[in-house]
Symmetry: C2
DNA sequence: GTAACTGCAAAATATTTGCATCCTT
DNA sequence: AAGGATGCAAATATTTTGCAGTTAC
């Protein structure tokens, strides 16, 4: 069965053009996407508001998660299977390329545990590495 | 000599009321601050625009740095000595408490190195741990 | 005195909400 | 048919910019 429809149905979401298009974009993209990327890709076929609402719905359902960055940008990326409603466990490192700006999920790189000061109880951690990605490195 | 004035002078910044007040707030606060916190604390004594510009100036000078978060919030925290103009080396872990919402710089916890896939060249990394902070843990 | 900083106004941008209409199931 | 999703308009919120007046040095 089509992966796209499968994801939507599994989450009890009605299948609409907007959701299909946006989800398709996430499935095709190795890295993370910003709201602006999505608007550009869908080429204004959908209202800006619809994009906001669709992203929010996907986050709520655990289909995508957002990635922390130190600038204002809010990035979203597909979650792996384990994400349940609202609870994300995508404990892999994200890589942001300084050259091409692309954000990549390094699924195979697990976020290491760190020893915290006394009294701190960790529940979830996120890690972003910046530098030059493999694709840009190869071009030089 | 007054630490506050020292920091401003070291960075060749003129000493103004706004900068003193905002820097004072950072010196007093253990955790990180959002733009909104600063506006509230300064109690509209300064123009909103001045706050934006002051924060930007401090970031440029390496006095404060911003902390990545997965929601939209942009948080700022004091840098340690080593930060030079524009280049931040605050390679410590940040902790966000789910209970009180406070963000803390764990200066003594260094971000571990991770082994990246072939071709990726890291330059800088950020790590955020979420959970329950020492203060909230103690209250329970 | 001069360069730097601030406040105000306004522009540009980003996000949210209400409601009527349309589409999925 | 009914509930959910969308588009549009508009309200809010956030951030940036230009410029004139003020302040630090």
């Amino acid at each position: 069965m089509d992966q796209l429809l499968d994801i939507l149905k599994r989450n009890r979401l009605s299948v609409t053009d907007g959701r299909k298009k946006i989800l398709e974009m996430f499935l095709k993209t190795p890295g993370a996407l910003a709201h602006a990327d999505i608007e550009k890709y869908t080429d204004a076929a959908f209202d800006r508001v619809t994009v906001y609402r669709t992203l929010q719905t996907f986050v709520d359902k655990g289909i995508i998660h957002n990635i922390p960055t130190s600038d204002n940008a809010i990035l979203y990326a597909l979650c792996k299977e384990e994400c349940a409603d609202g609870h994300h466990h995508d404990n892999h490192v994200h890589f942001i390329c300084d050259t091409c700006g692309q954000t990549t999920c390094l699924d195979e790189v697990t976020i290491p545990e760190v020893k915290l000061p006394k009294g701190f109880r960790p529940q979830f951690s996120e890690m972003v590495v910046k530098g030059i990605c493999a694709a840009c490195q190869a071009k030089q």
